[in-house]
Amino acid sequence: MKRKFWLLISLFLVASMIMSACGGLASVAPTATPAPPKILKARLSKDISNLDTANVTGKEEDTVDRAVMEGLFRYDITGKLVPQLAETYKVSDDGLTIDFTLRKGVKWQKGYGELTTDDVKFSFERFLVTDPKPAYADDWASLDHVEIVDQYTGKLIFKKPQATLWTVVLPMTSGLIVSKKFYTEAGPDKIKTEIVGTGPYIFDSWTPKQQIVLKRNPDYWGIQPSFDEIDLIPMDDDKAAEVALQAGELDFSSISLTSVDKFQADNKFKVDLIPSTAYSWIGMNVESPKLQDVNVRQAIRYSIDVPSILKAAYNNKAPRANALIPEGTLGYWKDAPVYDRDVAKAKDYLSKAGVTSLELTMTYENTDEYSTWAQIVQQNLAETGIKVTLNPLDSSSFWAYGADGKDKELELFAVGYSSVGPEPAWSTMWFTCDQVDLWNWMRWCNKDFDALHVKGIETIDSGVREQIYIQMQKLWDESVNSIMVTNVPQVYVTKQGFKSVIYPGGLSPMLREFKGE
């Protein structure tokens, strides 16, 4: 008993000494420059579901992939295309062959050996597989094969020119090089949630719905990254993320446009409002018996008050979109017609269609943004005499319309697609005839539009390309299949002491270039 007592006293004394020592250090600390943070805590808008570069589900997977993996080329922090794993490269005059030499001595993470041209061949040719066809097969549709010259030298051989190659394929996710050994050993399921790369961060762990941990790659061939660890925390809800930022639980996050003013007024944060290539619109299923008549669709177009939607949903911080391709992207249609609300005209169109009573269902993802849209549309159309029933759906039910022709059931809908890079073909590709039953929810099929889409991809001359895409948008506009609403800018908030970089297109953070200050 006595012994225990003295033991406790000794422990108490030792603890007191340690605490005094720490206290002494703490009193010195304010005069010293604080060390840069070693851990970055950043938000992902949702959890990952498929990290496979040929089948990534969205920008979250893209963010993770590009922190861990690398391609022959990449975008640098100024948005310029620069070589990455390609030490040298040469493009043939006809643009159909790219000779490249890999950097020597680049090691795969987790002991998967050295990067060779065999990995490059495997990475790109797997997009040509037809069973099952990868989701991003079109990115490499013009590739014929990859020729291996030796361990570090090879050639990309193309069947035809492909304009998108240098904008959204080679420097983006589809252009990332994967480890052949890892992919072969891991199998098709494991590669969805585990990756191995040559990049500055290693994919350490994934706890579903909780966090993804990236660790510094000590063997990285390039400049060592700023952080020892990046914790990516999936948070669906903007408001929850905003509260987490203020509570100091996040160092970086995207936020909603409606909260921009609040964070801009707080000097603990830096706010970046970045124009994006995402595009949002109100679609009309042109095959629906209620919407087959173009006059009915015109009536809807003239009923909807887009500026009110922009005011209510985005506090006027999002620009109005009048056509499919956003400003800043080749093919932007500057003179696209602007359809202002005109209820009298809308009623005229409705009577021209011989419609006296019309009831429609509007389907949308149940977020604050689209709920606001839908309620304004409902009110607007009511004034024209069209009754709208709202059908808000959770995320998975909503996006399930993109499979098995389920989109046949849609009438009116509000939706937004994101285009990860500033490439017009990425905006038009979802609205061709072969996308009906998949992502062309307006079910609008126009053979001229399809032909122009193919021509746009195969045309290298940017002036000609621009005209092609403007012509496509004219066809789109004439069909009255939708009401374009906005290209929602992305807002990122970075805590003081951190420096963030965003990829061109504004949709993904370039984690590898984040720094602690």
Partner: protein, 296 residues
């Protein structure tokens, strides 16, 4: 010896003519509860007369405005008058709570009577069924059922009714078990009364009082439960102004304006307070163990 009769206040004379309710109102807290509940009932009945605007009328240039002469409690994110939406929202709150509790009370009472009276296997089956339903947290069970049925006012009513029903079945069963062996029930049986008539004429009137009390006490919880489901997007469809929807919309714009959250929160809190005070006073009046004076 001469007795001087103490003068009776005219209000008390009126209360004397209103059995039970009069006793509830005589209690100060009961009176406060009654006034709050009455105010909400008036809103429910006279919503179109009380609300200055239609609940879905939008005034987008004045979105998220604070309280003013034009909009007494301010506006929401699409410029709708919060006061009008709260007034109309009382219809949703009560329109959900009353039928839900009625469903729970009716089915629960029926099952409780059958289980308590018949006993044996029937009792075991019903008890296991009720235990199974109660094993799930009510919010999880409701969300699961709504995910299957789809969100709508009718489905919310059904779901809340089913979720709350086991409480009533348990109370009625326990009461029935204690009454079924009483001498007067035996006498009824011996003179050839059917089970149905015994249950309806003799047992039900003697066991229903605690269940009615429970119903009164459950109303505020059901109102907040509906608001919770609407907050989670599983309640009524927009633009129907459920208090939970107003709270949820307000939450999305909390950094721009706090008024929608404040007013919807105050309304929910007041309703809960009103019904709780009223229910507790009612219990004091009706439960002989508490009041020692009267029962049904």
């Amino acid at each position: 010896m001469q007795y001087i009769e103490k003068p009776v206040h005219p209000f008390n004379r009126i209360l004397d003519h209103v059995p039970i309710l009069g006793d509830v109102i005589r209690q100060p807290l009961g009176a406060i509860g009654f006034i709050i509940v009455l105010a909400f009932i008036i809103c429910v009945i006279f919503a179109p007369l009380i609300a200055p605007y239609d609940y879905s009328r939008q005034d987008i240039p004045n979105r998220l405005a604070g309280p003013s002469a034009q909009y007494w409690l301010g506006t929401d994110h699409i410029g709708r008058d919060i006061f009008s939406r709260l007034v109309y929202g009382s219809r949703i709150a009560f329109g959900t709570a009353l039928p839900s509790v009625a469903i729970a009370l009716t089915i629960g009472t029926l099952l409780g009577l059958i289980a308590g009276y018949l006993g044996n296997k029937v009792d075991n089956i019903i008890v296991v069924l009720m235990d199974s339903l109660q094993a799930f947290p009510s919010i999880m069970l409701s969300l699961a059922i709504l995910a299957l049925l789809g969100p709508s006012l009718v489905n919310v009513i059904i779901v809340i009714g089913l979720t709350w029903m086991p409480n009533y079945a348990r109370v009625i069963r326990a009461q029935t078990l204690s009454i079924r062996e009483k001498t007067y029930i035996e006498s009824e049986r011996s003179i050839g009364a059917t089970d149905g008539s015994i249950l309806l004429s003799h047992i039900l009137p003697n066991v229903i009082a605690p269940a009615l009390l429970l119903a009164a006490m459950d109303l505020p919880w059901v109102i907040t439960f509906e608001a919770g489901l609407s907050f989670l997007g599983m309640g009524v469809r927009p633009p129907t102004p459920s208090w939970g929807v107003i709270l949820s919309d307000g939450y999305a714009h909390i950094f721009e304006s706090q008024w929608p959250i404040i007013w919807s929160g105050v309304t929910l809190a007041l309703t809960t307070l009103g019904f709780t005070l009223f229910g507790e006073a009612l219990r004091d009046v009706l439960d002989p163990r508490v009041s020692g004076t009267r029962g049904l």
